[in-house]
Assembly symmetry: C2
C-alpha cells in the first residue's frame, strides 16, 4: 500500500538518527542536492520555512528599532586583517576570489564569512558625532565558510542568516543591546518555533573571534545533542580601536564606539526538524508552518464531496494557511504525505461526515482525531492549533529537562557523557585546560555558563580545584 | 539659512544630470561608499525601497503560482560551460574563487552572475515525469558581474535581484509564462513605481546569452536616456538540450522541457530616482515610499503643539506609514529634509493651525499646500496620496511621450539622436550591421521591437533597404 511504502522509506530515528534526519529533509521536500560540493538547493517547502522565520524575526527586530541595510559580499584581504583575533578565527575557513573578469586581482577578496569588517569600515566613514549614535543595523544575506564536513541546514558551506551590527556611545548601552537581542532570540525560539533554550555566556575558549563576550542560546535535539541556536556578541571597543571608529561626544572629546553583533541562521530549520520530528517525518509548529491545515476529501468522486471540501477550504483559508489535496492519489497516500511534510492539522471530509455535518480533524503531533461540527470548524481548528503550539513547547521542554543531568565529579561526568545523551550540568574552575581535556576525552564542549547559576558543588568536575561557574556541557552539532 | 544650505548641496539636474544623480543618492541617505571597489552599502533609506519593491513583487509573483527557492552562490566552471552561448556571454565578467580555506581548488568556481546553470543542474535531477511539471520557481539573491564602470543602483559589481526560472512541458506554455511575467513587470512599474514602460522584444544582437527570445520593458529617464527595467527570456528547449533535462510524457515518450527566466534588480531604484526626482532631491511615489507622511510640528515649544502633532501622528499611522520630526532643528531644515528624502506628504501643524482646527498638507511632487480640517485629515491625506500616485505616472508618461521622436531617414535619425535626448521610433531592415552602425556612429542601441508596431515607412532608417520592424532606439544606461 502506498502509505506503508512512503513511511517505510524513512529510517526510524531510534535505528539511525543521522539517517532519519537526512531522510526527512529529502522526503519532506525541503532540500535537493546540487553539483556544488557542500552547498544545497532549498526547495519550496524548505525555503518557505526560512521565509516565515525571516518575516517573524524581522518584525520583532523592527519593534526594537532595528533598521535593515546591505553591505558587499566581498571583503578585501587588507580589511579582514585589521582585527587580529577576528582574522585568525576566520581566515582558515574563507573562500578567496583571486580573479575578476579576465584579470588577476591585485588584492584577493574573500566571500564574507560574517560582516564585522565591512560594518566597521562603513561605521568608520559614517559616524562622526554623538548625534550619529546609536546605529542599530541588520542585514539578511548569504555567507560562506569553507566547512569540510557538511550536513543540510546544520552545517553547509553557504548558509543564509541575519547579522545585526550595532554601534553605541557607551559600554553599558552595547551590553544592554547584546542581552536584549539574546532575549529576543530566546523568546522567538520558544514562542514561534516551540523550542526551549538555555541562555548563557560562552567561555573564553568558545567565544566569537574578536568579541569581548559571547552570549548564546542552546537547544537540545531529540537525540540528546546540543545545538547552538543563536549568538549575541558584545565587542566592547575592540573593533572600534582596530578600525578607528570614533565620535565627538557632547563634551567635545573624541571617543571610541562600543559595538555588538548577533545572528541567527538557517540551521534553525535543522533544530525544528530534530526537536519536533518523528518517524512519520516532519512536525511543524503551527505558527511556523507554511501550510497549517490540509483539507483531504475522502471518496472525492462522490457527489457533493469536493464542493463541501472547497466550502471548508474557503472558510478555513480566511483564518489559516490552508490547502486542499484533490489529487487522484488514495487517501492513505495523502495522509502519509501531509504527515511527512509536517502539516499541523489535517481535515478529513467524506460523504458520511458531510451527512453528519462534521469533519474529522487530525493533529500531526499526537495523531489525535477530533470530530468537529462543520459550523464551528474555524474556531475549533484555531483552538487545536493553539494547543498544539503550546504542547509542542511543553513536550520539548519536558524532553530537555529529562535529558539534563548533574555530574558532581569526573566519574559521574564520564558515565553520563558516555551513556546518557543530553546536557550535563557541572561545576568548572574556569581554566581552559579542563575544557580542553573534556573535549579531548569525551568530545564534550562547554555549551554555556547559564544566566541561572546553581551551586552544585565547590569543586571543578574535571580537576577538583575550587569551582567558579556552573556550566552546561554536551556533545553538539 | 539651513534650508538653503541643504538645497545648495545638490547640483541642478539641468547643469549636470550625472552629478545631480550622485548627489541625490548620497544626500537622501540611500547609499554609502565602501572600501570594496564597485560595490556599495545600502543604507536604511535605500534598502527600505528594495524591501518594499520585493514585498510587492513577491506578492504579485505568488498570485501567479510562483514558489521561492534558493540555489548556491557558486557555480563550478564545468557547469557554467555546458551552454555555449551562455558561457561566452558571461565568462568575461565573472569573479572566480580559486582558493577555499587554505587550499587551492581543483576546479575554480565563479560567483553567480545569474543562475540558469544552477537551475538547469537542479531541474535535471528533479524532473522525471510530466507530473513534475511545470516548475515555477524564483529566488531573491545577490549576483556579481565584474563591471568596469559602475554607478550606484544602475550598474554595480554586486547587485540584488530576483531571478525566476521555470520549466514547462511545451513551447506554448513557456512562451505564455515569458509574456505573463513581462506583463506583470510592466504593471508593477506603472502601478507601483509610477513608471510607464514600452513592452517589446529585443533584437538578436541584444538578447540574453542562450535565449531563444528576450522580451523587455524600457523606461525613459528624465534626461532622455533609456533604462532597461526588466527582462523575460524564452529559452525554448536550448538549455534543456545542453543540460539533458528530460521528462517522460503521458505518451511514455522522453521529451525535453521548455524553459524561461525573468529578472528585476535594484536598478529599479535608480529608475525611480531618475524618472521622478527633482532639484530638491528624491520624489517617491506614495505606494513605494517607506515613509509616506512626515508630521512636522511648528513652534513645537509652545504649549499643546507636540500633543496635537502626536494626536495627528497616531491617527495617520493607523492608515499610512507615518513619522514625526520633533528634533530641535528649524522648520525650514525639516522641510528641506523631507523634500530631500522624497517623502510624499508633509503635514505642517503650528499653534495657529490648531486654533483653526486645521493642518497644512504639502505635496512633495507639486509643492502644493492644502489646508485641511483636522477631523477629516486621514481621508484627505488618502485622497491626496492617491492623486499623487496617479499624477506622477501621468507626468512621467507625458514626459516620455514628448521625448519620443520619429525618424524617417538617416539624416533625421542623426539630427534627433544628436540634439533631442529621448526615444526614437524608426524602421529597421532586421540586419545586425545596421544596429552596429548606429551604435558606432551615435552610441544608440535598439531598445526593443515594441509589441505595438507602427508602419512609419517602407525602408530601414539606416540602409534604406526594405524595413521589417519598427524599433525603439535610444542612448541607454
Amino acid at each position: 500500500m502506498a502509505k506503508d511504502k512512503l513511511v517505510r522509506e524513512i529510517t526510524a530515528m531510534e535505528d539511525d538518527f543521522a539517517q532519519w534526519y537526512t531522510d526527512v529533509v529529502v522526503k519532506a521536500g525541503l532540500i535537493g542536492y546540487t553539483s556544488v560540493k557542500g552547498c544545497m538547493a532549498y526547495k519550496p517547502a524548505g525555503y518557505a520555512l526560512w521565509e516565515n522565520i525571516q518575516k517573524e524575526l524581522d518584525r520583532r527586530f523592527k519593534e526594537t528599532g532595528v533598521e535593515n541595510v546591505y553591505m558587499p559580499v566581498l571583503i578585501p584581504e587588507s580589511l579582514l586583517q585589521k582585527e587580529k583575533d577576528h582574522v585568525e578565527g576566520f581566515a582558515p575557513e574563507v573562500a578567496w576570489v583571486t580573479k575578476g573578469g579576465l584579470n588577476d586581482l591585485t588584492e584577493p577578496m574573500c566571500i564574507r564569512p560574517t560582516s564585522e569588517t565591512l560594518f566597521c569600515d562603513f561605521y568608520q566613514k559614517e559616524i562622526q558625532s554623538y548625534r550619529d549614535l546609536p546605529k542599530v543595523y541588520n542585514q539578511w544575506c548569504n555567507v560562506l565558510r569553507w566547512e569540510k564536513e557538511t550536513r543540510p541546514f546544520l552545517r553547509s558551506r553557504e548558509f543564509l542568516w541575519q547579522e545585526g551590527h550595532t554601534a553605541h556611545a557607551t559600554a553599558e548601552e552595547s551590553h544592554e543591546r547584546t542581552i536584549q537581542m539574546l532575549n529576543l532570540y530566546a523568546d522567538f525560539c520558544e514562542e514561534f518555533l516551540a523550542i526551549p533554550v538555555i541562555k548563557g555566556q560562552k567561555t573564553e575558549k568558545e567565544k566569537f573571534a574578536g568579541a569581548e563576550a559571547t552570549f548564546t542560546i542552546e537547544a537540545l535535539m531529540h537525540d540528546g545533542k546540543a545545538l547552538q541556536s543563536g549568538t549575541s556578541h558584545d565587542f566592547g571597543d575592540g573593533f572600534a580601536k582596530a578600525y578607528g571608529i570614533q565620535y565627538t561626544d557632547r563634551d567635545n572629546q573624541l571617543k571610541y564606539v562600543y559595538q555588538t553583533s548577533w545572528g541567527m541562521t538557517t540551521r534553525l530549520i535543522g533544530a525544528v526538524i530534530m526537536v519536533h520530528g518523528d518517524n512519520k517525518g516532519l512536525v511543524l509548529p503551527p505558527r511556523l508552518a507554511p501550510v497549517q491545515i490540509m483539507v483531504v476529501p475522502i471518496a472525492q468522486h462522490k457527489e457533493g464531496v469536493l464542493d463541501a471540501a472547497h466550502g471548508v477550504l474557503d472558510r478555513l483559508s480566511a483564518r489559516f494557511r490552508t490547502k486542499i489535496d484533490e489529487t487522484d492519489n488514495k487517501p492513505g497516500w495523502k495522509f502519509a504525505e501531509t504527515e511527512m511534510r509536517g502539516i499541523p492539522l489535517r481535515v478529513e471530509l467524506g460523504p458520511k461526515d458531510i451527512e453528519n455535518g462534521e469533519a474529522v480533524l487530525v493533529r500531526r503531533d499526537t495523531g489525535e482525531k477530533i470530530a468537529v461540527p462543520l459550523d464551528s470548524i474555524e474556531d475549533r481548528a484555531g483552538e487545536i492549533l493553539e494547543s498544539m503550539q503550546k504542547e509542542m513547547l511543553e513536550r520539548a521542554r519536558a524532553h530537555r529537562d529529562s535529558h539534563t543531568y548533574v555530574a558532581a565529579n569526573y566519574e559521574e561526568f564520564a558515565d553520563t557523557i558516555t551513556n546518557k545523551p543530553g546536557f550535563i550540568k557541572a561545576m568548572w574552575c574556569g581554566d581552559q585546560a579542563c575544557e580542553d581535556k573534556l573535549k579531548e576525552e569525551f568530545a564534550a564542549t562547554s555549551r554555556c555558563m547559564p544566566f541561572e547559576q546553581e551551586h552544585l558543588s565547590d569543586v571543578c568536575v574535571c580537576c577538583g580545584r575550587p569551582a567558579k561557574k556552573m556550566v552546561y556541557w554536551g556533545k553538539a552539532y
